[in-house]
């Protein structure tokens, strides 16, 4: 199957995709109950799996889960909040006696979960939109910034390739770029960076000449809009707005609460659960639409 066609069908209009992920981000930041956060994380992961590849998220997820664990551990050891104690240790000078309390553990879990969730939502935002369409869309309002972003997008892989090439050349000129000693490696990297800088400056000159020849900055621009607004974009935008409105209504009426600290509230107060499930179901729209496109 043509991958270009795939890209076209799985992407949403920038406005729809941005609105949806903004709503998701809002819930991730506003909700503090770990159970609801886990559900949001599952939703974001499912969407990512449908619209993109697991590998896109793999490294970022590993790093953010590690950070979440660190937060959990630090919070558990040093915030001795809560009445009950799960485990204790001897007193440490200055810090005092270490106590692991369920409240602190859950608080750490809640804060920690928000990290992989936020990272996932940012990645999802990028994957739901076509990068080029976003830049094209933004170029209507800020052509120079949009161009800068486009050139940066092109420049990073180009620089990586150049760096690899220069490293090869320098290795074969006897520079110790792979030396095990850090000092020798840093010393040998100087010419490498020097060449990279000079080549980048040359490249910048060529790019500027090319921009000049393509009449950039010669006057008012027009825009070739190639991001059509489809029914699925309307559905996604509508869904995100409805979810936000429902949440606002729920908050005002006191039903859509997700508290947990010191008492895991959903177990005691079930009244808000259907409301929150409704919101989550609406937020599943992106998953359903992307799944349908993929099929």
């Amino acid at each position: 199957m043509n991958t270009d066609t795939n890209c076209k069908t799985r992407h949403f209009h920038p406005i729809a995709a941005f609105s949806y992920t903004a709503a998701l981000f809002f819930f991730a930041m506003f909700w503090s109950n770990p159970l609801w956060l886990i559900l949001l994380l599952v939703l974001a992961a499912a969407c990512l799996l449908v619209v993109s590849d697991w590998r896109v998220w793999r490294n970022a997820l590993a790093l953010s889960l590690f950070m979440a664990l660190v937060i959990c551990a630090v919070n558990s050891f040093f915030a001795a909040a809560g009445g009950s104690t799960l485990a204790g240790a001897r007193a440490i000078p200055i810090i005092g006696r270490l106590r692991i309390c369920p409240g602190a553990l859950l608080s750490g879990l809640s804060t920690g979960l928000k990290i992989p969730l936020a990272v996932g939502i940012f990645i999802l935002c990028g994957e739901l939109m076509d990068q080029d369409e976003v830049l094209s869309f933004l170029s209507r309002f800020a052509p120079k910034s949009s161009l800068l972003a486009t050139l940066a997008t092109l420049m990073i892989p180009r620089l990586r390739r150049e760096l690899e090439r220069i490293r090869t050349v320098m290795s074969m000129r006897g520079a110790s770029v792979d030396d095990r000693r850090l000092v020798a490696r840093i010393k040998a990297s100087r010419p490498l960076l020097h060449v990279l800088l000079l080549s980048s400056l040359d490249g910048a000159w060529d790019t500027a000449a090319s921009l000049n020849c393509r009449a950039f900055g010669s006057g008012k621009r027009s825009s070739y809009g190639n991001a059509p607004w489809g029914a699925r974009d309307g559905l996604l935008l509508g869904g995100a707005l409805i979810a936000l409105i429902l949440f606002a209504i729920g908050r005002a009426s006191g039903t859509a609460r997700t508290p947990f600290y010191r008492s895991l509230d959903p177990v005691e107060d079930m009244s808000g659960i259907p409301f929150l499930i409704l919101i989550l179901s609406i937020m599943c729209l992106a998953f359903c639409l992307a799944w349908r496109s993929k099929r």
Partner: protein
């Protein structure tokens, strides 16, 4: 009225005392395909920049004389109007790409001109169809092949409505098949679509038949302006090195006393038989290689390289030629099989020993250049090896004919001269094995011949082996003792480069066909 009228045009780049263009007088008419040629650094690119309004407007410097476009001074024309009529394409397509997808690349120029969206759509579709990019509109520009990238750039310029195309060595970075396709397109654009084309090229073998008119620029001066037939006669006596082999024959004729050497580079010095028994310097035994978890780039390669020989490795883009060079010099370790150079496994050696054992030239000479002077640049490897010697540096610089540039900043030199600096730097340690990746890219015929001659001499005098990875079939035919064809990671042919009955040392049509693929 002529399209361009140039009178006494003189131009100096900023902070230079030598004119890049020196009292040029020229008239260019509409609908012509004008071929501009001349030695590297002669002023061809500057002439193109003057015609497109880039000098002095963009590059600065001092200008004298007059350049008119349709009767009006070029410097008084509105930039937008100028860009809409004159399109410029330079030799490195990658550096001209400004957008992430082909479709955006095509519409970027028209957007800058403020054209209405429906007109942009029409132009994008027209250019995509014309240049065979219709199926690639959604493709990322950094995933395109060199030929397709150059087409995308050409389409982007043409979509602006330009009827005059200035192309500065557009085929120099392309493989033979892509270059041939581009030339065929230019011929069609000239004859069927009525474009005026100014084509700058250093290698004339394929371009001369396309041209209506030839300009020869050397030392900033216009030394010849006339029809291709007259150019052949003129160049046969005044600048024979620029002529491809067949025009050398027909241009001089017997009346001009053409020598057998002038007919072509055969038999070149490289074709002389190696009298002593072959002594292997590098041996590859069933070498396979794959990057990461991807498919194999090299498959079961067995190859022996002997001292004193120049071997050319030909093959299409992506065949694995550059990877093979990196495997031989130890920059990459084979996934399977063994590589030995002078009895050692190069991948296990530290960089200093690798540098002493193998000289390496990458595709882009700029990867070498970061010193203030050519002298320092060439001596850098010797310093790293603790063997610095001023006389050796001078000898290497002299060998490559760049003694007069020894105190110049290498980054300020022309592409061909930079390539010579890189070659001098790569050969300074007199390694027993020299590995060159596209050494003739960006070189004019004179430098090309000099490179071939020097490599042959290097191999013979130092009893070294030279491996040349190239897409320049003419160069391989002229200067190699052996030619190997690498296709899809496999060496499908490896044989001595002996003349065939038609006089060609290797079957060029077959090799050219390989570049085109199945």
């Amino acid at each position: 009225m002529s399209l361009f009228e140039i009178e006494q045009l003189t131009y100096y780049y900023p902070e230079t005392s030598r004119p890049a263009l020196d009292h040029i007088d020229l008239l260019l008419d509409e609908g012509e395909l004008v071929l501009v040629t001349g030695p590297s650094g002669g002023g061809k690119t500057t002439l193109a920049r003057a015609l497109s309004g880039l000098v002095p407007h963009f590059f600065g410097g001092r200008i004298g004389g007059r350049v008119s476009y349709r009767g009006d001074p070029l410097d008084r024309l509105d930039r937008r109007a100028l860009n809409a009529q004159i399109g410029v394409v330079t030799q490195d397509p990658e550096k001209q790409i400004l957008m992430t997808r082909v479709e955006r690349e095509l519409c970027f120029g028209p957007e800058n001109l403020g054209l209405p969206p429906e007109q942009i759509t029409r132009r994008v579709m027209e250019m995509a169809r014309l240049l065979g990019l219709s199926g690639l509109l959604r493709r990322r520009t950094d995933e395109l092949s060199g030929g397709m990238t150059q087409r995308a750039v050409l389409g982007a310029v043409m979509a602006m409505g330009a009827r005059i195309m200035i192309l500065d060595e557009p085929t120099s970075q392309l493989d033979p098949a892509a270059a041939e396709d581009l030339r065929a397109f230019l011929s069609r654009a000239r004859h069927e679509l009525g474009y005026t084309i100014l084509l700058i090229e250093q290698r004339l073998e394929h371009c001369l038949p396309l041209a209506d008119r030839v300009l020869f620029v050397d030392g900033g001066r216009l030394k010849f302006d006339g029809a291709p037939r007259e150019f052949r006669r003129w160049a046969a006596t005044q600048a024979p090195y620029v002529l491809p082999h067949a025009p050398r024959l027909f241009g001089t004729g017997s009346a001009h006393g053409a020598t057998s050497r002038a007919i072509g580079p055969h038999p070149a010095p490289g074709h002389e038989a190696i009298l002593h028994p072959p002594e292997p310097i590098a041996e590859l035994s069933t070498v396979s290689f794959a990057y990461g978890g991807n498919g194999p780039v090299l498959k079961e390669i067995t190859l022996t390289i002997n001292r004193g020989e120049v071997i050319s490795i030909l093959g299409p883009n992506g065949a694995g030629k550059s990877t093979l060079l990196k495997i031989i010099c130890g920059l990459l370790s084979p996934s399977r099989g063994t590589v030995t150079v002078a009895g050692k496994k190069p991948s296990r050696l530290p960089n200093r020993e690798k540098a002493a054992l193998c000289g390496y030239l990458s595709q882009n000479p700029d990867d070498f250049l970061f010193h203030e002077t050519v002298r320092d640049e060439v001596g850098y490897t010797l310093r790293n090896l603790g063997r610095f010697d001023e006389d050796t540096v001078h000898a290497s610089i002299a060998r490559w004919g760049i003694s007069h540039l020894a105190s110049r900043n290498p980054r300020e030199l022309s592409a061909g001269e930079r390539q010579c600096v890189a070659l001098a730097a790569a050969t300074i340690t007199s390694p027993p094995l020299l590995l060159l990746d596209e050494p003739t890219r960006g070189q004019d015929c004179r430098l090309n011949e000099q490179t071939g001659r020097q490599l042959t001499a290097f191999a013979r005098e130092r009893n070294a082996a030279v491996i040349v990875v190239t897409q320049d079939v003419e160069f391989a035919a002229a200067w190699s003792q052996r030619v190997a064809l690498l296709v899809n990671g496999e060496i499908i042919e490896d044989r001595p480069n002996r003349p065939t009955p038609d006089g060609a040392p290797c079957d060029r049509s077959r090799v050219n066909a390989l570049f085109r693929g199945p």
